[in-house]
């Protein structure tokens, strides 16, 4: 019995150490950038005020916010369909809407948009940035909303609402959406963060025109070798904004 306890403790110790190693890896990956600023911090600070960096920040933040809003608008009908309609091929549709966009190679997606929407003059525009980011980011919100709508369906609250005379718009507006606010916010925050980090699709489809389509990831990609202080400055901004935004959204969502 004692030997068994000892063995169990050793195993527990081992998995705790493994977990710590993973945590360390994650934390170093996140915070090493601030260390890398090091002694050249004055160069980095001056780069923060570089017009190109500011432009990339503005395009990145604004387009990601728009993508977050569009994702909520898209998530509502999709989640309703997936949670409340039973039809053949629903599982496949769910995979195409939620899982595939998260694993589909973004560079390929950028190429698809370039071929499909290039001829209608959407390539290399601000709209192209939004289109490219939306495909890879929106599934987070769709996924959160779908899961919540399914939970509400399981609880039977929509059935009760309908028994009281509620039509679909009432069920949606008075039951589903008020009860999904936290999940929508969580989905929005992840969508926003994913959109902030999107690179390949935007690079291919929207290009890197300063103050028009250049976003922080593409700016970092282009300047990392020749102007590392600009790349580091842009990265510090992106990373700090992402951390602050994610923590804020989580805090707001928990406090609701």
């Amino acid at each position: 019995m004692k030997e068994h306890r000892l063995t169990k403790d050793k195993f527990e110790f081992a998995i705790t150490m493994l977990a710590c190693a993973v945590v360390l890896y994650m934390l170093v990956s996140i915070f090493y950038l601030y260390v890398a600023v090091g002694e050249s911090w004055n160069l980095v600070v001056s780069a923060l005020f570089d017009s190109r960096v500011i432009g990339a920040v503005v395009i990145s933040v604004s387009s990601s916010l728009i993508v977050g809003g569009l994702a909520i608008a898209a998530a509502i009908p999709c989640a309703y369909l997936l949670a409340y309609r039973d039809f053949r091929g629903k599982g496949i549709l769910e995979t195409f809407l939620i899982d595939l966009p998260q694993t589909f190679p973004p560079v390929t997606e950028g190429l698809v948009y370039l071929l499909m929407l290039g001829p209608v003059r959407l390539a290399y525009t601000y709209m192209a940035v939004i289109i490219a980011k939306f495909y890879v980011s929106a599934p987070f919100t769709i996924s959160f909303a779908t899961r919540r709508f399914k939970e509400i369906r399981e609880s039977g609250l929509d059935t009760i609402a309908r028994s009281l005379g509620a039509k679909t718009r009432d069920v949606l507006g008075r039951v589903l959406l008020p009860l999904s606010g936290r999940d929508m916010l969580a989905g929005f925050s992840l969508t926003w963060a994913r959109a902030m980090g999107e690179l390949a699709a935007t690079l291919v489809f929207a290009g890197t025109i300063p103050w028009r389509t250049e976003i922080i990831p593409t700016l970092v990609y282009l300047t990392a070798a020749e102007m590392p202080q600009v790349a580091i400055a842009a990265s510090v901004i992106a990373e700090t904004l992402s951390i602050i935004a994610l923590l804020s959204f989580k805090w707001i969502a928990r406090g609701r």
Binding site: L157, I160, A161, R162, S163, G165, A166, R174
Partner: protein
């Protein structure tokens, strides 16, 4: 007609069959609930009671049979047009709405005026003795209070029929007698035709003007409590009502 001029409705369940795969949850169920009557369907867990309520409500489609209210077939009516009040086992209160808003829900979606909603909700909350609790959220209520809110909400739209699914199963024993009496009293005052399902013989005999005993998807006896106590159709009924039989006969 009742004293307020409201039409009291008869509910008829005609030859309903509902299967889940190979399992017949409802097997040729026939039942008539008279206008303003409080009928109880009693049976063990899994005998098809809740399925019966959901078929009447319109949340489930039967394989065969008809549901009629005052002779009118409502099979084709969607759930939101049947005007049937429903109180589920867990009361199903909307957690984001307070007592007043929960009670007013059906009236709001039917576009009643604010003044009319206020008048009806105030009256209902007085009837179920919940005055002063209007701004409380469901999580701040006891099980008995939740049940009364659910009842008030279901009655707010003047339903043709009221369906109650195990209305006393979440109530603790200490307050059960009072809650049960309130439930019966509220039904009497509202005069709404009521079908209640429960597994509890004591609740059935207290609440029901008639009791339908259900087993394995079939109604095996339907009569008033006294007749059921005196003449059980078979051994199965005798076993199912055993607690009452012992209480009254011994």
């Amino acid at each position: 007609m009742d004293c307020k001029g409201k039409m009291m409705k008869e509910l008829r369940v005609e030859n309903i069959i509902k299967s889940y795969g190979n399992v017949k949850a409802l097997d040729h169920v026939e039942l008539t609930v008279n206008p303003a009557e409080f009928m109880v369907v009693m049976g063990p867990s899994g005998c098809g009671k809740t399925t019966l309520l959901l078929v009447i409500l319109g949340a489930l489609t039967p394989d065969e049979g008809h549901i009629r209210i005052n002779g009118k077939d409502i099979d084709q009516l969607p759930l939101d047009e049947r005007n049937i009040g429903y109180v589920p086992q867990d009361f199903g209160l909307f957690p984001h709405l307070n007592v007043y808003e929960n009670t007013a829900f059906g009236l709001k979606v039917r576009k009643y005026t604010e003044a009319k909603i206020r008048e009806k909700v105030d009256k209902l909350l007085r009837t179920v003795d919940l005055e002063g609790l209007e701004s409380r959220k469901p999580k701040e209520l006891s099980a008995g209070q939740k049940q009364r809110v659910a009842l008030a909400r279901a009655l707010a739209t003047d339903p043709s029929v009221l369906l109650l699914d195990e209305p006393l199963s979440s109530i603790d024993e200490a307050t059960k007698a009072e809650v049960r009496a309130n439930l019966k009293d509220t039904q009497k005052k509202s005069k709404v035709t009521t079908l209640c399902v429960t597994h509890n013989p004591e609740d059935s005999f207290y609440l029901g003007e008639r009791i339908a005993i259900m087993y394995s998807g079939k109604i095996i006896q339907c009569d008033n409590p006294q007749n059921i106590l005196e003449n059980q159709r078979n051994e199965l009924v005798r076993k199912l009502i055993a607690p009452m039989y012992i209480e009254f006969r011994v």
